[in-house]
Symmetry: C2
Subunit: 187 residues, 2 copies
């Protein structure tokens, strides 16, 4: 992440700014632009979101969104993948998905990019957990490892290839091993 | 950390190799050399170890060691600071400190270097916790943050300047805030 401004804006002022590419996040009064996505990040993001949806969206249990701005608890963040329980997805009057998501995801997934501050990303996971998120994944493609953060519980380290990754209860039918996850890098 | 060899050695073979500078660690059959220490890392390491010792060593409760090789559970690691309870410090027949520490520290402290894999460092903390270490600190100078890992408990994030850093019970008289810790970078 690159800190692009030392100027402190309010959250309201930040939200009025035009979107950037890659997206910018608003954290503790600072605007921090996400890194330009690269191959490993993109491959995992592109495969994982539909893999989750194939299990939870078809049953209207939940839905995974890539690069969705979520604004809550004084921050505006853009998780790589944010999964929301079906009933918590904000809707327009016509029933369509709303544009503004002013709530924490139920499951948040971050994929580490080279040179990205792992501490900054982890802090976003902590922020989500403090606001009701059931689980946060931090995927490190270089180390072929996943950290799973749960509220009030020890952090889980998943790096055994055949280990099943922990998932939130609502996604219990979604079954993926560490090897499955990183095999997307080899396709 | 730079992985310097793809050749798989046994732990016994690794321990017969000459020491390197910076030190090399043996993790899952791989030899990984620690990064060359830089200013922030050195400043914190040099101040923190004696600060801990000024509280725990004078009372013969425990003792902090910088850059001490600890070999246990199939790995040989060199924490930036390893703190051992007084009675667990290996001794020679004459009572002096032994050279070989074949046990996990009671408190392990890692200071992140630029370009070092935070996941690799965190995995070393997990390895320690699995072998009896009471607490592991991961200090990120760039983000002025500390993650405290405890067995069977949620990971703690400490980034509020006035927050007291959590310490193991045996070091309860050692009192340090986040701001105190990072103020060593400004001296």
């Amino acid at each position: 992440m690159v800190q692009t401004s030392a100027l402190t804006l309010t959250l309201e002022e930040f939200l009025k700014l035009p979107e950037t590419e890659p997206a910018s996040e608003y954290i503790d009064g600072h605007i921090i632009q996400k890194p330009m996505p690269q191959g490993e990040h993109s491959a995992i993001q592109t495969e994982l979101a539909p893999a989750i949806n194939s299990v939870v969206k078809s049953k209207q249990i939940a839905r995974a969104f890539s690069e969705l701005r979520c604004t809550f608890g004084g921050r505006s963040i853009v998780p790589d993948i944010a999964v929301f329980l079906w009933g918590r997805i904000p809707r327009q009057e016509n029933g369509g998905v709303a544009n503004v998501f002013a709530l924490a995801p139920d499951w948040t997934i971050e994929i580490l990019s080279p040179d990205q501050s792992q501490t900054k990303v982890t802090k976003n996971l902590f922020h989500c957990l403090e606001h009701g998120t059931q689980m946060g994944w931090l995927i490190d493609p270089q180390e072929q490892s996943v950290f799973a953060y749960l509220p009030e519980q020890p952090t889980m380290l998943c790096d055994e290839p055949h280990a099943l990754l922990p998932v939130p209860e609502f996604a219990r039918d979604f079954s993926l091993t560490v090897a499955d996850l990183f095999s997307w890098l080899l396709e």
